[in-house]
Symmetry: C2
């Protein structure tokens, strides 16, 4: 693969909307899921922002990020309650009105509820003018896409179902990003110099070093990621050789 | 407590530096820890950014956030390897040089290692000129504070030990932020209107509604947070009454 082909990076930013994540009461698990799925689609998640349910902040963040990255994915704030303001904010960011999307309305009306409850639920049928639905395979209200911004639910089961529909040509990436990792009970300091030299020899592959502490002692995870499988394999062998040269066993490799 | 007193919010932003978090290989747990500790100190975490180990991105993000928020807390990138560039980036952001901090050097030299390894480890003694140490109660290399930016380790055990030292007057907040939560097997749509009315009556308290799906069915967590304990208690009672008015049991309240 040519160097040129590898340099064309399709980028994404994730915007996690929700006080419950920022407060630490709820642990986000959507980022890891999205990041891995995007890697498969050849899109690199280059940044994530966790922001509160505050209109100005959401509008400004969306507007900044949709200029800066090829794709933006938001999670959270598309339910029926007063603190669900993502659709309103996306409309404001794009300076358009909201409308009731007929297909979204049909999906929501499938479940029969008293009229006052339906009124709240129909908030979830509102899309900014120009928006298109993101299907929700769980059968609940859909998400939507507006320009390069994909607006999804925050509940992981629903978010993941929505993401599973993105492979259907809606997101156009480059080569899939693959990774290799090697773990060993070595301190980072011991291998730092040699590791830097390996990184210098493989500028196309990102080589990360992540220390860990387990009951058996401290160690390091060495992670390589890039788009060229051959290069990744060669580099992995070099990293394994480096570990062994310290008379230390490689404890895991994948 | 007067409305005025409550409006003085001391704000913070967290910058999580590391490809390993963005890639989804490692699950961040530091945000939840920091957010709760800051609440106790009367500081509100208003935003978090997860960014890669890329110099320009780190420098720009730090410079933007240190203007925008009262405090900035970074995690990650302060180890001894080639991908640990946080100290260099903070120095660049503040347009100062790095220097070897004598106390940090002393701490690092406590552990005897061959000279080439010590060379890598001493990278961790580098501070931007004007920086001050953040103590590391685990005995490892310290973090540092530069202006309103607190630079900490990414490994949770070490990060948490560093955060525990912040109560020592280094961070000056307002009133501690408290929360109450009520959970019930109700759909958000059912209570959306009534919930909006409660929120309108208590503008000082943030009322969030977070749906969940468990094997027993779907339900909702209603979370109130604010600085006035009395108001929080009254509001919690109203929320409980609302739930009961639907002939539904409150399944948890705290």
């Amino acid at each position: 693969m040519s160097q040129l082909a590898q340099e064309k990076i399709v980028s994404a930013c994730m915007i996690i909307i929700g006080n419950e994540i920022l407060s630490g009461r709820t642990q986000d698990v959507n980022l890891a899921f999205l990041s891995k799925e995007l890697n498969e689609l050849g899109v690199r998640l280059l940044e994530a922002r966790i922001i509160p349910d505050v209109e100005d902040v959401i509008v400004d963040t969306v507007n900044e990020c949709r200029q800066k990255f090829d794709y933006v994915f938001t999670t959270g704030g598309i339910g029926p309650t007063h603190d669900d303001i993502t659709a309103d904010c996306i409309a404001k960011a794009f300076a358009v009105e909201l409308f009731i999307h007929p297909e979204a309305e049909k999906i929501i009306r499938r479940r029969e509820v008293p009229e006052d409850i339906m009124r709240s639920r129909l908030r979830m049928a509102r899309l900014p003018v120009g928006g298109e639905l993101i299907q929700n395979p769980t059968g609940g209200p859909p998400g939507f896409k507006m320009g390069n911004v994909f607006v999804m639910a925050g509940v992981p089961m629903v978010m993941q179902a929505m993401v599973s529909t993105l492979a259907d040509g809606q997101v156009k990436g480059g080569d899939p990003v693959r990774s290799r990792s090697v773990a060993a009970y070595l301190s980072e300091g011991e291998i730092a110099e040699a590791l830097g030299e390996i990184q210098d020899r493989y500028p196309q592959v990102e080589l990360g070093s992540y220390p860990f502490y387990r009951k058996d002692g401290y160690g390091v995870n060495l992670v390589m990621s890039g788009t060229d499988e051959g290069e990744l394999e060669t580099m992995k062998q070099e990293v394994c050789s480096l570990v062994v040269s310290f008379d230390v066993e490689v404890i895991s490799v994948d």
